[in-house]
Symmetry: C2
Subunit: 207 residues, 2 copies
Amino acid sequence: MIPPKSKEEVVQEFRIRSIQDATMRVIARKGMAAATMQEIAEEAGVAKGTIYLYFRDREELVEKTFESAITRLMETIDAALDRDMPIEEKVRAIMAAHLSFFGENREFFRLYLSLRMPEGPAVRQRRQKQNCQPQYRLRAEKFAAALQQAMDRGEIRRMDAYKLALFIIEGSTAVIFERLNEEAPPDEATDLDLITGMVLDGIRKRS
Amino acid sequence: MIPPKSKEEVVQEFRIRSIQDATMRVIARKGMAAATMQEIAEEAGVAKGTIYLYFRDREELVEKTFESAITRLMETIDAALDRDMPIEEKVRAIMAAHLSFFGENREFFRLYLSLRMPEGPAVRQRRQKQNCQPQYRLRAEKFAAALQQAMDRGEIRRMDAYKLALFIIEGSTAVIFERLNEEAPPDEATDLDLITGMVLDGIRKRS
DNA sequence: TCCGCGACTGACCATACGTTCAGCGTCCTG
DNA sequence: CAGGACGCTGAACGTATGGTCAGTCGCGGA
């Protein structure tokens, strides 16, 4: 069942992983546009040319790096979405997953933000749209589906589920972003309470 | 009181305005990183060199363009923030201001998103942080102050006002972004209801 | 009408970046 | 131990972009 890994395969995977990790760190530091192949290579401890042995070009490098990280995020979240629980708990579980994932993968956060919105000439924009945006949309759509289900059950009020999902995802992303930049961030639970409280009950005080 | 405008000044202001408008259109089309001076010049109908008569370098161009647009946005919002009204109305007024402003200034939206998060080498990041981010933070802080006031009055629940402000601003920004990309966006009022409903009362159905 | 000033132009320059490839060292094989 | 295969290297190349500046041209004043 387990495919036998030859020595070469192990080395290859290790190289690929090192380069992808370096890519994330550099993008985290300089931002998507200013991350050069030179700096990525140095960060990974290889020569510039080596990267091209494993990735066709810069675009594929970024794309693959993004994919392998977001796949991990999606798995965490799917676990929360698929289980059948009241929407309150679901929201809390999803937000908790985001908080801890980005807490552990700070570097990825910046790349994630950059790819939400495609840049560059029309051709590249189209390619990014085809390869990375679906991942983002998919996430939003899955969340929207969960919200829709809760609406049908009468757990929450009826509104445009997709836009609602976007609101919640981006709002919480902003809080997480702030959190990652704080010198002494509060407990994860504190921010989690803020987000879920806001999402579930809004800001208005109930008498 | 009114400073007399010589003919030269009028011409100058017109040029500056044309170039800034072109800058926004190109950034809206290609994104911040891929917007070249060449293309901006063509869009403005002037030669590349002309831009440098009015702006020191690319950075100053982007910065000034951003500033003059965000100043207009801030003015609209301040009007809503300064008046003394219950928080419900304030929130609605602010969100309405955002919706209509970005509806009328679609081009600016992309630039606005790009500058939230500084890119490039450390030096440029620092400069952007000093010149553009304060505008963004200022907006968040003003909104946070309004929320804080409402908390003190007992109108809304107590939480971290700044993070709450970020959540609301970014959440609504996401909805506006989606709206701007829709083929046939609904009434402004529909999206406005979605946002204010979410912010004030959350998603949970009240029995 | 002629002159000179200055706004404007766009070919040109320096630089930086992605990508390539001829050669090097290393390790396995026979 | 010799030979060769292969992963890796980094100097070199082409291209694209921000920025410059010598030259052009239209306009206003003499």
